[in-house]
């Protein structure tokens, strides 16, 4: 394989570096603007109450968290918004406490216009490893096009980073020749 010219290598490196940085900025922008979280916690997968599970993660049976029920557009604190399956979730909602869970009344219960949370997390296991399982991610549906976007970002970033690295080794003059698999050494 003939060595590429320095100018061509430099153009290749600069182009793919700029594209990689562009993809990183795109992801950073989606992250800071909250778009990624909104796509992720997109709609309700169950009938129940949309909540922000981070706000009551420290609740205990002795010191339960009391969530105010109401039609909130944004869940800023100890709040819960009633939702039906398929409804868009309010801003900052990251889980749905299902009506089934409320009927069981083991971890959460309905008390008038309040939801009482006594067991905000449980220890569960996946592939032999333990982790804290909270109300987060429960009863939510992710935006399907957001999933496609994820795959496009990761494949796109793979391509840009791969060619950027190739451009860098070309500039550094590291000669990478095709391996002669069947010739003796």
């Amino acid at each position: 394989m003939s060595a590429p010219s320095k100018t061509r290598s430099a153009i290749k490196f600069v182009f793919w570096t700029a594209t990689s940085i562009g993809v990183f900025f795109l992801v950073a922008n989606l992250h800071t603007s909250g778009s990624l979280a909104r796509w992720y916690y997109y709609s309700a997968g169950d009938d129940g109450y949309a909540v922000n599970a981070d706000t009551f993660k420290d609740a205990t049976a002795e010191n339960p968290a009391m969530l105010q029920i109401g039609s909130f557009a944004k869940l800023d604190g100890l709040e819960a918004a009633p939702v039906k399956k398929g409804d868009r979730l309010p801003e900052l909602a990251n889980g749905v406490i299902s009506e089934e869970e409320l009927e069981k009344a083991k971890r959460v219960s309905l008390e008038g216009n309040l939801i009482k949370v006594t067991v905000p997390w449980q220890i569960k296991e996946s592939k032999g490893f333990k982790y804290k399982d909270t109300f987060k991610h429960k009863g939510i549906v992710t935006y399907p096009w957001g999933a496609v976007y994820n795959v496009m970002i990761v494949i796109g970033l793979g391509v840009t980073l791969g060619y950027m690295a190739e451009g860098l080794t070309d500039i550094l003059g590291i000669k990478l020749e095709k391996i002669r698999h069947f010739e003796g050494h």
Partner: protein
């Protein structure tokens, strides 16, 4: 610490980049995604179990692209073989996932999964280790007799058997210099895909030995070709996990930035070694992963009462990543010393070029 609002945790960025980097080296060198190493690491960092698998699979797809670009430059990819296998691999992965879901409904998944992992990985370790030792000895004998030794030496008689199956269509894989029935390649993709889907991994550690010992590809070409498969199977897995809401793309991006560098080192390192060196590293990764799976199995069978078994399994898995990286880097350093005529341990010359 960085706040991941989707995963709902705070995790250190340098550790994510480091995990991507180390698995990138190993994956680029032996052609595996490294799922069995990454998932436990992510759980240790605090990611929920369901999300650890999704992040892992998505990062594998991106890393597969990075490694594929480099292996293409090195001439390690046989596109005919890779594209012939894609349909079988995808169908296999889907069947494997459905089998897993069925077993989950029956309440058997964890024990069956771990037992299957142990049996498959131990068998592959044993066969690869025995065959590679024979190949290593053969290279030493050839060198002693002053014969020219090619980059690939393998002693298994299985490829000849499978290449003699006269089932049309017969495909000519020019880069790998293999003429074989397409059905052999498709079935290798299907079977390894079922195992990959069932075990929840990319499947490289099964597919690379299968391409070497059944299809008859050289180890370097098996690694490069397998990485193409990983792009497809990983991409499909990433889509499925993303739809289920198991992926925090920000964590994936951090891991991928480390994997980009690691994959370069791992891929380029293959240019310094012969096929048996890659197979040795693959077999060591298999036995270490088997030990981790045995510990987890013992922990599950003990009714999850012996906590140190689980802890030790995690430590072993993380230690494995570091051990394999150091092994690969030291092989490259020994190869460079050998090229300059400097002294190296006696076992090194047959493994490097």
């Amino acid at each position: 610490m960085f706040n991941f609002p989707v995963a709902g945790i705070e995790a250190p960025i340098p550790l994510l980049v480091l995990v991507g980097f180390t698995v990138g080296i190993v994956g680029g060198f032996i052609g595996v995604g490294g799922g069995y190493m990454v998932t436990p690491a992510l759980i240790v960092f605090g990611f929920p179990g369901y999300m650890a698998s999704g992040i892992d699979m998505t990062h594998i797809a991106g890393k597969g692209v990075v490694s594929t670009i480099r292996h293409r430059q090195l001439g390690n990819i046989d596109w005919t073989m890779a594209l012939s296998m894609v349909a079988g691999t995808m169908l296999g992965v889907e069947l494997g996932v459905r089998l897993l879901v069925y077993l989950k409904h029956m309440g058997l998944s964890t024990v069956v999964l771990l037992m299957t992992s142990v049996v498959v990985m131990f068998f592959l370790f044993l066969y690869t280790q025995i065959e590679t030792r024979r190949a290593h000895k053969k290279i030493e004998d050839m060198a002693r007799e002053g014969k020219s030794v090619s980059r690939e030496v393998q002693t298994s008689s299985l490829p000849a058997m499978f290449q003699n199956i006269p089932l049309a269509p017969i495909v000519i894989c020019r880069t790998a210099r293999v003429v074989v029935s397409m059905w052999v390649i498709v079935i290798v993709g299907l079977v390894t895909g079922v195992l990959a889907g069932f075990l929840g991994v990319g499947g490289g550690f099964i597919r690379v030995p299968a391409l070497v010992y059944i299809v008859g590809a050289s180890t370097h070409i098996a690694v490069g070709t397998d990485l193409v498969e990983i792009v497809f199977s990983g991409g499909y897995g990433a889509l499925r996990h993303s739809i289920e809401g198991h992926v925090d793309i920000v964590a994936v991006v951090f891991m991928l930035s480390g994997a980009m560098l690691g994959a370069q080192i791992g891929s380029m390192a293959t240019a310094f070694v012969r096929g048996p060196a890659i197979r040795y590293i693959l077999s060591y990764s298999l036995i270490l992963a088997t030990c981790g799976a045995v510990l987890r199995l013992a922990y599950v069978l003990s009714g999850q009462s012996i906590e140190w078994l689980s802890l030790f399994a995690v430590m072993l898995t993380l230690g494995e990543m570091i051990f394999l990286c150091l092994f690969i880097m030291s092989l490259v350093l020994f190869a460079l010393r050998h090229r300059r005529g400097k002294s190296v341990p006696a076992w090194v010359p047959p493994l490097v070029v």
